[in-house]
């Protein structure tokens, strides 16, 4: 068998020819010419909601000739947060990763700034609320893009019949479907009286006092309604103030009329409380109502989602935004940004909201009056006021306006609920405040 020997001269000539041909050849756009993008989305609890995300991503991928792969990551047991932490440590992973509330700030150093994307999106969709800016921006730089999927308000979901019967409040009249709220009298005082009346009637409000987010978010909105901050925007500890004392006095009265095991509640407990028909109100996104539609339709028909009561310093609603972040170490940042722009278009947002049955909330001012919220039922219009269409509330997150890295500690250590619970369970006010002060000082680590 003879073998032809390649001379050095022939090798050089062949290499030069090949290189010239490659450089001079016309650019042919193949099926996946713009490379690959891998995405880690939050695994939605609403059946079918992930399909909307997949369809939108595929539409974009077909248009842009990009190969995409999507992983849906559950938030159960903090799997999503663990993934964020692991990818940030490994400096490798998805090009786009969905992140809850505090995570853009926590991993700011590893995120690609998205100002170039956010400016036109805001111009198109309207401004974003203060909480989204607080959580998504650092020094004027956008760290991540507000995601419609997963973002939510944890406002009151009341039982129409029980509130009318025991508290004498017609929630449908107060928050009529299709028109602005008539909620001037819906104050913390009225809320407390209603809680007492419903407790007396055997249907206590289902508000948790545990260490999970539902409990903390409620505490955050109540503290903010009284102007109570444990740490202010400058990072100074401000626990021992009259506002904090006022909020604690209010909480003490409220805790007296809550279910006795509320300190052990997790994020599922309040949902079960409403669905089981035991309570007149919970503070939650419409997920409990959606499950009731399936499991206890007679309860769902009596549910009405509406705004938070106002306190001396305003009407605050707990808003929990999700974000889509693009890692700075991502392999295809340009394609990632292009996809995020596509997912932030009004038509995409409308599809997300419809697929989630109204659960998902866009962060943009012009996107709060979509037809899904007006049409969902029963009863029809039950979700109309869920996205706060008349901007009556200040969207807020517990522990703000403390610098986010400190606020995250206050939030996840549940300092607000623990403080309220300590005082309500008999600890002296000043001792409880001293404990909270010590905790906050410990959160100042950099």
């Amino acid at each position: 068998m003879s073998r032809r020997k390649l001379t050095r001269r022939q090798f050089v000539a062949a290499t030069a020819l090949t290189t010239t041909a490659l450089v001079a050849a016309p650019y042919v756009r193949g099926a996946h010419a713009a490379g690959k993008v891998s995405i880690g989305f939050w695994d939605h609890w609403v059946p079918g909601a992930n399909d909307a995300s997949t369809a939108l991503v595929n539409e974009w991928a077909a248009k842009e000739k990009v190969e995409v792969s999507i992983d849906y990551i559950t938030s159960n047991n903090k799997k999503l947060e663990l993934t964020v932490a692991a990818e940030a440590q490994a400096k490798s992973g998805h090009d786009i990763l969905q992140m809850p509330t505090w995570w853009p700030h926590a991993y700011a150093e590893n995120l690609e700034p998205v100002n170039d994307l956010m400016e036109p999106v805001i111009k198109q969709n309207g401004d974003v609320n203060g909480t989204v800016k607080y959580l998504g921006q650092r020094d004027g730089k956008w760290l991540a893009v507000p995601a419609t999927v997963g973002s939510q308000i944890k406002g009151p979901c009341s039982r129409i019949d029980l509130m009318k019967k025991y508290a004498g409040i017609d929630v449908q009249e107060m928050y009529p479907a299709g028109s602005p709220p008539k909620a001037d009298n819906w104050t913390m005082e009225t809320f407390l009286k209603a809680a007492e009346a419903c407790h007396k009637g055997g249907y206590p409000f289902g508000i948790g006092l545990g260490e999970t987010t539902d409990s903390v978010d409620t505490a955050g909105a109540i503290f903010q309604a009284f102007g109570a901050e444990l740490v202010n925007a400058k990072g100074d500890v401000t626990v021992k103030t009259d506002e904090v004392r006022q909020a604690l006095e209010f909480y003490k009265k409220l805790i007296a009329v809550l279910p006795p095991d509320a300190p052990s509640w997790d994020d599922a407990s309040n949902n079960k409380w409403l669905i089981s028909g035991k309570g007149a109100m919970i503070l939650n996104p419409p997920s409990a109502w959606a499950v009731a539609k399936r499991d206890a339709p007679q309860i769902a028909e009596q549910c009405w989602t509406h705004g938070f009561p106002a306190g001396p310093k305003g009407r605050f609603a707990p808003f929990l935004p999700y974000f889509w972040g693009a890692w700075s170490f991502g392999k295809n940042k340009e394609a990632a940004k292009s996809l995020l722009t596509y997912l932030s278009q009004p038509s995409s947002i409308e599809k997300f909201v419809a697929a989630s049955g109204g659960y998902d909330l866009p962060a943009y001012a012009n996107m709060t009056k979509l037809k899904t919220w007006a049409e969902e039922g029963p009863p029809k219009g039950t979700l109309f006021h869920y996205p706060d269409p008349y901007n009556q509330q200040t969207m807020s997150i517990a522990a703000s306006p403390a610098p986010p890295k400190i606020a995250q500690q206050i939030y996840f250590q549940a300092t607000l609920t623990k403080l309220a619970l300590r005082y309500a369970q008999g600890q002296k006010l000043e001792d409880a405040l001293a404990w909270a002060e010590g905790e906050c000082e410990g959160f100042m680590r950099s």
Binding site: E109, L209, A262, K405
Partner: protein, 312 residues
């Protein structure tokens, strides 16, 4: 003779063997063969245990943003925190109480099973092992439903006797009781099976001799059974102590550390501080704090075991 060669060494050895021959000889040594066989496992342990352990030590020496070396700074910070000392206390209460009850229940049940005729014993052994073979995250979820604030099956049953409702997970005492109860339920079968194996290895002649000497049942346990089981008891206790100290799933699922942090253990608090609050170095420091505590326990228990081994 662990290190003996497979072949008998030749009488007349050359002064210096060629290199190939010595390699050949080394490969034939039993210890070399044993090392090569265990090498995959050693590599696996190095990758999955040693590397993460060293990495967590590295993490524990960094500041919160993981950009600066702070030495023991995280530990000195922890020593000043009230919650940290509460977690230390709770971890000790949880682990010691649970291990005592697991050992006690395991010992008693092992005796019962040992006395069942051989024909029916296998069924009982299988049934009693069920709690231990179900993944704890799954069985703990079932316990969570039993303790559930709104639908507790226990409270429902107790209501027929005019008792309750008991805030199983909402009150400090009951919450600690509940997490320990679930841990005992899960871990007692492990003790039972270890003790049962140990009981079966006690020679019958010893009991016969004790019976001839007029020993009652208590004296038989005290002077025959317990001395024969001492090493197994020590090793099982140590193993269980380590696993119970490092427990995560039971507390995480049942209480998430509440109410008011009174059921947090090292692992659950480390998770809350490290992952949920994004302070990974502090979380690593909390979890590393278990090491010296467990190392001291291990030294004492294993020293005792090896002393008895040498005596025998």
């Amino acid at each position: 003779m662990v290190d003996a060669a497979f072949e008998q060494p030749r009488i007349a050895q050359p002064a210096r063997r060629p290199r190939r021959a010595s390699l050949h000889y080394a490969l034939k040594r039993k210890s070399t063969a044993a090392f090569l066989m265990t090498l995959p496992l050693i590599l696996l342990i190095a990758a999955l245990v040693l590397y993460p352990a060293l990495y967590s030590i590295h993490l524990a020496t960094l500041n919160k943003s993981m950009q600066k070396f702070v030495g023991f700074g995280n530990f000195t910070f922890l020593f000043k925190r009230e919650t940290f000392w509460m977690v230390v206390k709770q971890s000790c209460i949880f682990a010691i109480t649970a291990v005592i009850f697991k050992a006690l229940i395991g010992f008693i049940v092992a005796h019962f099973v040992h006395n069942i005729p051989a024909k029916g014993q296998r069924k009982w052994r299988g049934m009693l092992l069920v709690p231990w073979v179900i993944p704890p995250a799954m069985s703990t979820l079932a316990w969570l439903w039993l303790f559930d604030p709104s639908y507790s099956a226990f409270n429902y049953t107790l209501s027929f006797f005019g008792i309750g409702p008991i805030p199983w997970l909402g009150d400090t005492f009951w919450a600690r009781f509940s997490v320990i109860l679930v841990n005992v339920w899960y871990g007692a079968p492990f003790f039972m099976i270890m003790y049962l194996a140990s009981l079966k290895s006690v020679p019958d002649q010893l009991y016969e001799a004790a019976a001839i000497d007029g020993a009652n049942w208590w004296q038989r346990i005290w002077y025959v059974t317990l001395p024969m089981m001492r090493n197994i008891i020590a090793i099982t206790t140590l193993f269980s102590l380590i696993v119970t100290f490092a427990n995560f799933d039971i507390v995480r699922i049942l209480t998430s550390g509440g109410p008011l942090d009174t059921t947090h253990l090292f692992a659950t608090w480390a998770f809350q501080v490290g992952i949920q609050s994004s302070d990974i170095p502090l979380g690593a420091s909390v979890s590393l704090f278990m090491v010296p505590i467990l190392a001291v326990a291990a030294i004492f228990i294993l020293r005792d075991v090896s002393k008895r081994g040498n005596e025998s």
